[in-house]
């Protein structure tokens, strides 16, 4: 799973968000390291919807602007959990090796 995908799923983990909300959340989650543009975001969302990891929850029109809210599906939550576990295991392995080499991980 690529980092932007992981971050999008994470952004939707706690509540349904609209496109711009997801963009803001991804920027915050990555401490400004990952910044999604609208086209890229919706392409990723389309793909995730096709894969069944994300679903459209509702639509609202606020101030003349269409907001479509996306939520994580059960399959999406499972995929995110598995990816998190994998990343955690990898990170733990890296830290362990670094400690053996006498380097203190940040």
């Amino acid at each position: 799973m690529q980092e932007p995908t992981f971050l999008i799923l994470t952004a939707l983990a706690d509540e349904a968000r609209h496109g711009y909300g997801v963009m803001q959340e991804v920027t915050e989650l990555s401490s400004g390291r990952v910044s999604l543009r609208p086209g890229t975001l919706y392409a990723a969302l389309d793909r995730l919807v096709d894969e069944g990891l994300v679903a459209v929850e509702r639509e609202e029109v606020v101030g003349g602007r269409l907001r479509r809210y996306y939520r994580l599906t059960g399959a999406g939550a499972t995929a995110l959990g598995e990816e998190s576990a994998r990343l955690t295991a990898n990170a733990a392995a890296a830290r362990s090796r670094l400690r053996k080499a006498g380097v203190t991980p940040a």
Partner: protein
């Protein structure tokens, strides 16, 4: 004022997307993420354009429809397309053989005066195209529409590549060896077939038929312009003949590729060929042979009939998608 300008510019960028909720959603997100500015950031615009075009290409072409078994009109169109493609290959092969190097410069011997298959390569190419055409029609008759479509595209690609290359090689680069032309001709036929078939397989599902037609026409015009400015030294008459030749790829693609997509496009394309392109041949004394002219005329006539039938049927079958 600033927000109105921002909205206008965001809407303009989002027009890359097909009309619908997604476009509206992109406008809203673009506006949200560019709040306080007079327009979206250039990076956002490029991103939206790129993904918008991709989304447009992925979407189903409006009003398109592929013929199936028992669909007489569709089968007829495929047959015509195959005939045209095969004929074009044969005629072009003959045209390639008509270039003659004599007395220090290239001369273009008029195709009427030479034997039908002047060279081994040309004969093989034409026979191969004919074989593919037969298989394609057979496949179509047995309902294997996809197979037929790919084979027709292959045949058309052969014609397309052959025409473009023989004209370019013969006129612009002045190849000295007739055998060289034949070899390059055969190679290009294969290469163009592979490339074109791949492109068709990828795009025919999603690109509206008229795009193909327009692209083909544009290619024809560009090729014509290129031949006009090339130092051919043959005067205006050959330039007009070249123009006629250069339009042939457009004819091929109009027939063989988009026309398999739907009845309306089929009819419109065939009618266009009949009305606009066919007259070029007789007037310029161009590369059309009597047989080819007859085929094109029949195709044009058929197109007009099909167009009329389509319009009439559309009125009574509005509920059926694709009409």
């Amino acid at each position: 004022m600033s927000e109105a300008t921002l909205e206008r510019r965001c809407r303009l960028a989002a027009r890359a997307y097909p009309e619908g909720p997604r476009a509206a959603e992109v406008v809203a997100t673009l506006m949200d993420s560019n709040e306080g500015r007079r327009g979206p950031r250039p990076g956002d615009v490029l991103d939206v354009l790129r993904h918008g075009v991709a989304a447009r290409l992925r979407s189903t072409a409006p009003g398109t429809r592929l013929g199936g078994l028992g669909d007489a009109l569709s089968a007829m169109v495929v047959t015509l397309a195959v005939m045209q493609a095969a004929t074009a290959v044969a005629v072009t092969a003959r045209g390639a053989a008509a270039f003659d190097w004599s007395q220090g410069e290239w001369a273009y011997r008029y195709p009427y005066g030479i034997s039908f298959f002047a060279g081994r390569w040309e004969a093989l190419a034409a026979i191969g195209a004919a074989a593919v055409a037969v298989v394609a029609v057979t496949a179509m008759c047995f309902g294997r529409v996809r197979v037929a479509r790919v084979l027709v595209a292959l045949t058309a690609a052969a014609g397309f590549g052959a025409i473009a290359l023989t004209r370019a090689l013969g006129q612009v680069w002045s190849f000295r060896s007739h055998a060289g032309i034949g070899a390059v001709f055969a190679g290009v036929v294969v290469l163009a077939g592979v490339l074109f078939t791949t492109a068709v397989a990828r795009a025919s599902r999603v690109v509206p038929a008229w795009w193909w037609g327009m692209c083909a026409l544009l290619c024809g015009l560009v090729a014509t312009a290129a031949l006009q400015v090339a130092p051919t030294g043959y005067g205006w008459r050959l330039s007009v003949v070249s123009a006629s030749y250069a339009m042939q790829p457009a004819v091929l693609v109009l027939f063989a590729l988009p026309l398999l997509r739907s009845y309306p496009y089929t009819a419109a394309g065939a009618a266009l060929v009949g009305v606009l392109v066919i007259p070029f041949g007789p007037y310029v004394g161009g590369p059309w042979t009597p047989v080819e002219g007859l085929l094109l005329f029949a195709a044009g006539l058929w197109g007009l009939v099909a167009l009329t039938a389509t319009v009439a049927l559309r009125r009574t079958r509005r509920r059926e998608p694709g009409w």
